[in-house]
Symmetry: C2
DNA sequence: CTGTTAGCGCCTTCAC
DNA sequence: GTGAAGGCGCTAACAG
């Protein structure tokens, strides 16, 4: 029975020391009403002296709640995830919930996650961060029967915290149009895969609609996949530079990390930003200021925190079960002007 | 009793369905020896059909283990943390452990963490990521009596996974020396605060020793605090540029993020890298390639994964208690040559 | 206001 | 090789 150096004390020890029953200790420690002030003080003192903290396992076994929330995210674009997790962590801690992190780093991990569902019985709620799910995966998660929220990526029937992706893209492209640009390309995600209806799809839609409104043609090959990484952005830009129909004068990048990559491609090609090509990104990555990238900023920690607060509220109010919802919180996105965009000469 | 849509089945259901006792189910499902093959098969089948998964709460209550590890990190330099966490998450998942994340975002959160110690009873082990602790904090964590490991930041009496910070710094400075530089500055952390003996202290020590070996004087004001952020690096570089005794021809930045900041400061001052000033960083940040920064690369996910495996092993072998150890795994750091450094004309 | 008691779901001796 | 039964530490009725 020697589990570690310290001998964890149980509720019985506290009860004995305070001279009351375990039930009273339980009540006092959880700020329940029916306890006299004097008794409460005595219990609190005893607990303090014994360094007592209730076992979440034992209480969870009884109540069915474990006071922890699962956060599930893929591995791509570290910055966004780190920021979102920061916001979630802050909000959950505020509410006294633990954050259990699950990183679906690759296809195998993802398969394993959905087949073993390690969050089962271990979390009271789930937050998905920028994770597009297929129908089967979504159903599996729903089968957990716990409140669920989705950050950034839209998900049907689940509470969402995100920006208006179409509008954000329009904002970026409109800015380029206002500067006189007409030949505007778009570096985004894979439009043939499952993301077609997700963030890349929506941002591309915004790009198209802004172009169409301006009466402009989107040239063949101007919508190109940058995989939301700097490296991908670089490759995409290189390919744009060797475009048969001529190079665009401006590029809308669906993430700042891809914008960073385009800067490199330009530099390598001996071109200058913004003199030769204007670049606008999305995110307001922490290094966007450093590298002087004009961007459509989105509040990432705030989206995470909002989702966290939502699931906690659902937990407090509801049965703790998953319920179809369609309430979505749209967070503001705004244009941040920097040096990577300029008026077309 | 309606907890969610799904009706979780318990070990009793499986036992009934398989026509055996719960004890047998427990044994069979955990691959224990004394179960006949036929019985085992029957149990496995029943469990499968019922979608049964043992409640970690209930089993944890009995065994005293919760199969989860606490990861504690401050909030600074997002890239490093995201990478470390990725490595840790991967390794823990591999071992079937949950990862409970605690972000000590600011002084208040930090105080709260150490006064309430929310990891108590909720994790079997603890991993610290780049978190310098004072004596009191270290003792509090030790009092948990669980295995503990420290990533990146050295910590007395605790298993560590890190690089040789002195050697890494020497590698960087030596590279500049080899290129003919003599006037070399160093942008690092706060050497007056508690970090004096931590990473910034060690890297500064490496810088000094390399300079001394080359018979060079470190000029007053050349060791400057960049707070390990891009913004801090920018400010530090600006201040170096207005140095009364003349500008250095090369700068050793103790992190790549600070190096990014110095690039911006140079650009703003109308100077070019590496023509006017050479820059070398530490980390091999994902964007270092993009921005062509020469750096001393360190394997971050590997350090995290190694720490995770260490605590799991300690859990399997030992009593699960914290024991003073001094085994430290030193990970390799290597110079990655890029375009931000060049020979002194 | 406080105490007694029955589980929560599982593991683990101890018999058989 | 298998089963019965006693907890693990706590909460939630139900009595007083």
């Amino acid at each position: 029975m020697v589990r570690g150096v310290v001998q964890r004390s149980s509720i019985v020890d506290v009860a004995r020391r305070a001279g009351v029953s375990v039930a009273t200790v339980s009540r006092a420690l959880r700020d329940m009403p029916n306890v006299s002030q004097t008794t409460r003080d005595r219990v609190l003192k005893a607990a303090e002296e014994l360094q007592y903290a209730a076992s979440p396992l034992a209480s969870g076994l009884v109540t069915g709640r474990v006071r922890s929330v699962g956060v599930i995210l893929p591995y791509a674009g570290r910055w966004f995830f780190a920021e979102a997790v920061r916001g979630i962590a802050e909000a959950l801690r505020e509410e006294g919930y633990d954050l259990v992190l699950h990183v679906l780093a690759d296809a195998r991990r993802r398969r394993e996650f959905f087949s073993s569902l390690p969050v089962r019985r271990r979390v009271d709620a789930v937050i998905l961060v920028a994770l597009p799910l297929d129908v089967r995966e979504a159903d599996l998660l729903r089968s957990l029967g716990v409140p669920m929220a989705a950050v950034a990526e839209p998900m049907a029937g689940v509470h969402g915290d995100r920006i208006d992706n179409v509008a954000a893209a329009r904002l970026a492209v409109q800015h380029l149009l206002n500067l006189g640009h007409r030949r505007i390309a778009c570096i985004g995600g894979d439009l043939d895969g499952p993301e077609r209806f997700g963030i890349p799809g929506l941002r591309t839609e915004g790009y198209r609609s802004a172009m169409a409104e301006a009466g402009l043609e989107v040239e063949e090959g101007w919508e190109i996949d940058g995989r939301f990484t700097a490296r991908g952005g670089e490759l995409a830009m290189s390919s744009l530079l060797s475009h048969p129909g001529g190079t665009p004068t401006a590029v809308f990048c669906q993430s700042d990390e891809m914008a960073f990559g385009t800067l490199r491609a330009l530099r390598r090609a001996g071109l200058t930003c913004p003199d030769d090509v204007s670049i606008v990104g999305v995110d307001d990555h922490e290094l966007s200021e450093t590298f002087d990238v004009t961007t459509v900023a989105q509040p990432v920690p705030a989206q995470g925190a909002s989702a966290a607060r939502w699931v906690v509220r659902a937990l407090q109010e509801g049965t703790g079960a998953h319920q179809p919802v369609q309430d979505v919180a749209i967070h503001p996105a705004r244009l941040v002007l920097r040096g990577s965009t300029s008026r077309l000469p």
